[in-house]
Subunit: 301 residues, 2 copies
């Protein structure tokens, strides 16, 4: 009785004592991927059976031999490399970009607060006047100080230092906007439906929280509705506090613009459609999001 066995190095025919009696070596990893061909070829020639599992260890020990080892190592490395290269897909890029957007939001916030404190030594009225951080930072760069200020008359080098900080904050806000454009670009191809209905930021957050488009597509709509509200959800389950109605989709215009008592309903309907979008995108379906949007807008108006 002969056995047939294939690994990265080739297809081998072994006799009862597990000595190699015939083989078709592979010249590359590519040939390994088409191993069926060479297996069929040798199969016909020798009428061999597949190796029984209990004899596998013995055969593996055979390949520890020096004449196989170097090749084996090289092929394995090649295969791993290819696997790693292919493991990176749009999901990873989206998740990194949205994670950085989240961090940039926190960072710009911290830096803007610092600027408010610092610049208020010189021009305290401005901080009271402008509530929005980004607009405040812009005003520090563009607006002259009012004459009737309560602020101290600092030297030019002191004010310059604050303006340098303001400039850096502005450039972080710009980077955040650039990241959004980038997300848009990836998603137009990767998940056009989700992008169309959710917008770049929310779509990216859903993919991030859903751990990739595939996994997101497999989640029930009720889970999609609450992605990002895990803390409130577990508090609800543990203490019986009110259950959350929405996670990251709270920032969606359809929910923002819904009447207060209809927000929960809006969230459920939106999550249903978002879930459908994720499935359409993952299974490369049609572009139906515009219809969904119209449908939702009609029902929620």
């Amino acid at each position: 009785m002969n056995y047939i066995f294939t690994n990265l190095l080739g297809t081998f025919i072994l006799d009862e004592k597990l000595t190699v009696i015939d083989s078709l070596p592979f010249k590359s990893v590519e040939e390994y991927k088409n191993k069926k061909k060479s297996e069929e070829k040798l199969q016909k020639k020798h009428d061999a059976k597949p190796l029984p599992k209990e004899r596998l260890l013995q055969v593996l020990l055979l390949f520890k031999d020096a004449k196989y080892y170097q090749d084996f190592y090289q092929r394995n490395l090649e295969l791993t490399k290819e696997g790693l290269k292919n493991a990176v897909n749009e999901d990873n890029l989206i998740m990194q970009a949205i994670a950085n957007i989240n961090e940039l939001d926190k960072i710009s916030n911290t830096m803007s607060k610092r600027l408010r404190e610092w610049y208020s030594l010189y021009y305290p009225e401005l901080s009271e006047e402008i509530e929005d951080h980004e607009k405040y930072v812009e005003s520090v760069l563009e607006q002259e100080r009012g004459a009737a200020t309560f602020g101290a008359d600092l030297g030019a080098i002191d004010v310059e230092e604050m303006k340098l900080l303001a400039g850096r904050i502005i450039s972080l806000y710009a980077l955040r906007k650039q990241h959004e454009l980038y997300l848009q670009k990836i998603m137009e191809k990767y998940c056009p439906n989700l992008l169309e209905l959710a917008g770049a930021t929310i779509a990216a957050r859903l993919i991030e929280l859903g751990k990739g488009l595939k996994h997101l597509a497999l989640l029930p709509a009720s889970t999609v509705q609450l992605l990002g509200a895990e803390k409130a959800l577990f508090r609800h389950l543990k203490t019986g506090s009110r259950s959350p109605k929405y996670g990251v989709i709270i920032n969606h215009p359809l929910i923002q613009n819904a009447q207060r008592d209809k927000k929960g309903k809006a969230a459920r309907m939106l999550a249903d459609k978002l879930s459908l979008c994720a499935r359409l995108d993952f299974f490369k379906g049609e572009f139906k999001a515009p219809d969904y949007r119209k449908d939702l807008e009609g029902k929620l108006a």
Copy 2:
């Protein structure tokens, strides 16, 4: 019996019934500051006594009259404004700059870690190769990807996005360096001794933690030694864990370079001299820090 009374509006002579019988109005807040002059003048003329405390309320009510109120309000505003303007001194500027340096350190750290994760999709080997965050970020911008990488073959727009992030991180590192130069500039005039012995960053942290140069100058050297180690100190007092030997001065070269068993002694000696420096600087004393440094270097060699 006549009384004499002065407020922001002028010096007044009041009779027994607290009616104004003579006055020298002030034309500005400046005259109020030199009130002694006009008080002496009227004093001579009327032989008046200072207003007894129990009659103060009555007099104050007198000035609620409409003919005084507007002036009173204006003068007060002026005085407050002046007070606020003068309340801002080098301490405030130093504290803001060093607080921002502290924040920038954390922020660059967060952003560099994000870049490492993101760029490793494309070129994972680089992150293993370079441990230092700043050098890593520079390499992302300057170094081509190695040919034998395990990273994915991403599109140009994907890599560009990561390089944009790298560029922003570099500019935050640059801002931090600029802040240090700025601190140096302020401190050369404000606290040359402390600057000379501690260096810009440590000196600024001491002023920050000591809540200003004045307060720092009044602290005992043993407190200066532990500024920045409050957490460890209170843990020591509460649980009897080992007492901390140094706070922010731990980064000083004299302590960094000291032998392990001499670090505590070095910290104590350095704190002594730093405390002297703070006092010299606050009381505008001589520039003795270079002597202190030589002395310490000799004793710790």
